[in-house]
Each structure stands twice: as C-alpha cells, then as structure tokens.
C-alpha cells in the first residue's frame, strides 16, 4: 500500500512508531537495573505521545492532543517520581 493522502501517511507513521515502541519492551523486561526499565518506559511514553498526536492528525480527532499533553505531563512526573523513589528505596522524598 502506498499512502496517497496526508492522513494515510500519519496512520502509517503511527503504526511504525508502535513497532518502535514495542522494541522498548525488551529493555523494560530485560534491563538489569531499575533505571534501565524506567528509561525504557519513559521512551515508550514519549513514543505514545507522538502516536497520539499522529492519530489526532490522521483520524481528525483534535481532542486526542489534549490526552497527549496530559500523557506527556504524567510521563515526566513518572520519570521524576520513580527515579527519586529508587534512591535509597524511597528514603528521600
């Protein structure tokens, strides 16, 4: 299939981003340290934000962008929270 319209390009790109995101699962499962897993999940989250934005344009559903923005915020919060929690097993907060 060769995409002809902009919408189809975005949908195809979203599918490819999903494949790249799935690659992250390997590191999320295998990563030797907690930080490796956290990093993989963080990259996965960034990819999810991009996928949401691509779907918003591809499916013409602009409110997906709302969710993408919230997801980006929670993704950042998760990275900061867990990385802080791993220091001395949550001894500092």
């Amino acid at each position: 299939m060769i995409p002809t319209s902009i919408e189809e390009i975005f949908l195809l790109a979203a599918a490819l981003f999903v494949l790249l995101a799935i690659m992250m699962f390997y590191r999320a499962v295998a990563g030797p340290t907690t930080q490796d897993r956290l990093l993989a999940v963080n990259v996965l989250g960034t990819n999810t934000v991009v996928i949401l934005a691509l779907l918003a344009a591809g499916l013409d559903e602009p409110w997906f962008l709302d969710i993408a923005l919230i997801y980006a915020l929670l993704n950042f919060l998760m990275a900061v929270a867990i990385s802080k929690f791993t220091v001395e097993r949550g001894g500092v907060l």
Partner: protein, 142 residues
C-alpha cells in the same frame, strides 16, 4: 492525480513526508541505542536526545499538517513541553542511577590528568556507598 494539487500544497506534502520520515529515523536510532548500548548512562543519551528530536520532528509534521487552526496550538505546546521535560527526565534517571551507586562503563580516557582530584573523591561518592549499604542492613536513616 497529483498534477491537480496546487504547488504550495505539494511542497507542504513533501515537507510533511520528510519530517515524518526523519522523525521515524531518529526514533529508530533511539530504539536501537536503548537496545544496543552497554550501560544505563549511555542508553540515557539516545533516550533523551534522538528520541526528543524524533518526537519533535513528528510533532512538527503534525503541526504543519493541521495548518492554522486551534489544534495546532496544542501541538506546538506539546512540542515545547517534550523539549523541556525529556532532557530533565533523562537527567533525573541518570542522577538516580548515580545516587544508587551504578558505576558507568568507561573506556580508557585518552587525556592526561585523571587523578588530580583523587582527594576529593570520597566525599563526592558518599551517597553511592550509602546506597550500597542500604541493602545489607546499615540502617543510617534514624
């Protein structure tokens, strides 16, 4: 088919395709980096950088495709947000790795003076040893 589309639209179409492909490429680099690189610090490089650029390019493509409408504002906000928070998140992760005492894999440094600050070392790395002790029962938290 394509001849019917005006010139400006064709240029925009081409720009969107280029941006999306470049975004996919850098995200791919980031994914490969996270899978291939040897330790957490090196992985954090690609996770924060190639991925941020990949996401940025893809979001720029979305913003370009949406054109002048209200949703574009959200896309641009998302772009800025990703660019501010992603490096900070990578820093937080790398710092947490340093705090919990993970030593980076380093190749032999090519430069000269490595041991100059050796006397400063112990105080700097004291959180590391604390982190190590925590698992074996050194309850210094009282």
């Amino acid at each position: 088919m394509i001849d019917a589309i005006p010139m400006g639209e064709q240029l925009r179409f081409a720009a969107i395709v280029i941006l999306v492909v470049a975004g996919l490429f850098f995200t791919f680099v980031s994914a490969v980096g996270v899978l291939r690189l040897p330790d957490i610090y090196a992985r954090a490089h690609t996770a924060s950088q190639a991925d941020t650029l990949g996401a940025g390019l893809a979001l720029a493509a979305v913003a370009l495709a949406l054109g002048w409408q209200h949703a574009t504002v959200y896309t641009v906000l998302l772009l800025f947000f990703v660019f501010i928070t992603n490096p900070t998140a990578a820093h937080a992760i790398a710092r947490s790795a340093a705090e919990s005492g993970i030593t980076p894999v380093t190749s032999e440094p090519t430069a000269t003076d490595g041991g100059e600050r050796a006397d400063d070392g112990p105080a700097d790395s004291s959180p590391n040893t604390d982190g190590e002790d925590g698992s074996t029962g050194g309850g210094g938290s009282a």
